[in-house]
Symmetry: C2
Subunit: 146 residues, 2 copies
DNA sequence: CTGCATCCTATCCGATACTG
DNA sequence: CAGTATCGGATAGGATGCAG
């Protein structure tokens, strides 16, 4: 009595291979990966790390060096957070006018390699990504996913 | 915040050795590093990449596997963007009910190593970061920087 | 099951003004 | 120069409802 529509059986479930990859079993603190990603996630932290990777810099120096014109407010917030996380060391000199120097800590430097690797990957694969985007956009003219 | 994929000049041949960290001389398009960071910056992309690193997964599988309870909306958006960037391949099966499989492309897999490295770093240094934060918070009881 | 559209909220971030 | 505080726009992201 059923209509003749074919119900396709779902194919075999993909067996979980072998790699736990990250082994995250604590949904609460989310494995702590967020601790880093949230930092790298904001707009400026990576640039600050990159700039400080080449040496000590003062506030204004930092601001000028960072591409995209970071506002004073955001630079302050960014360096404060990085300092709080122990990635950046802040040194205040009681001079007139005041002078504050920022530099990476040991911890901060250890992150530099990864950030650099990420940047290299980005640069190396940018053409591929750009091409993929153009192709996708061409095939999906009216998509809400930009 | 990604600028429209204009990909201008960018003479950054970037055959960088390992002295200059990122060699960014184009403030305009920000070296293209943003192209990647904007993806990694959002809350979920990294988790999707991590999950797909272990093999093909369906939509619902992905949603259940990701820690932190990603909403349906965000998972859809995230995988679409990754697909657009050529990092994820999407395969639709005309079954009832519908079934869609997601898997990393070659490009996506090449990013996996970096993402894993980042995750490893995060896990390894989480205690240090947590300690730094506690110390900082103790020394700055009434700070607006959380 | 997969996915889109809508509404609504939290947060990011820039602009601006003011202090030491 | 370095930093803080406030306002307001833009946007990421959750909840819900509906469609294929």
């Amino acid at each position: 009595m059923s209509a003749g529509h074919t119900v396709v059986t779902t194919p075999a479930r993909s067996a979980v291979i072998d790699e736990p990859v990250i082994t995250c079993d604590t949904p609460q603190d989310e494995c702590g990966v967020r601790d880093v990603l949230d930092r790298l996630g904001d707009r400026w932290s990576v640039y600050v790390i990159v700039e400080l990777a080449s040496g000590v810099k003062r506030f204004k120096q930092l601001q000028r060096a960072i591409p995209g014109a970071i506002s004073q407010r955001m630079l302050t917030l960014t360096v404060r957070r990085l300092e709080r996380d122990g990635l950046v060391k802040r040194t205040v000199y009681a001079t007139v006018p005041p002078q504050v120097e920022y530099e990476l800590t040991e911890l901060g430097h250890s992150l530099t390699h990864l950030v650099k690797a990420l940047a290299d990957w980005s640069i190396a694969h940018r053409p591929a990504i750009a091409a993929a985007r153009e192709e996708w956009d061409a095939e999906n003219p009216d998509s809400s996913v930009r």
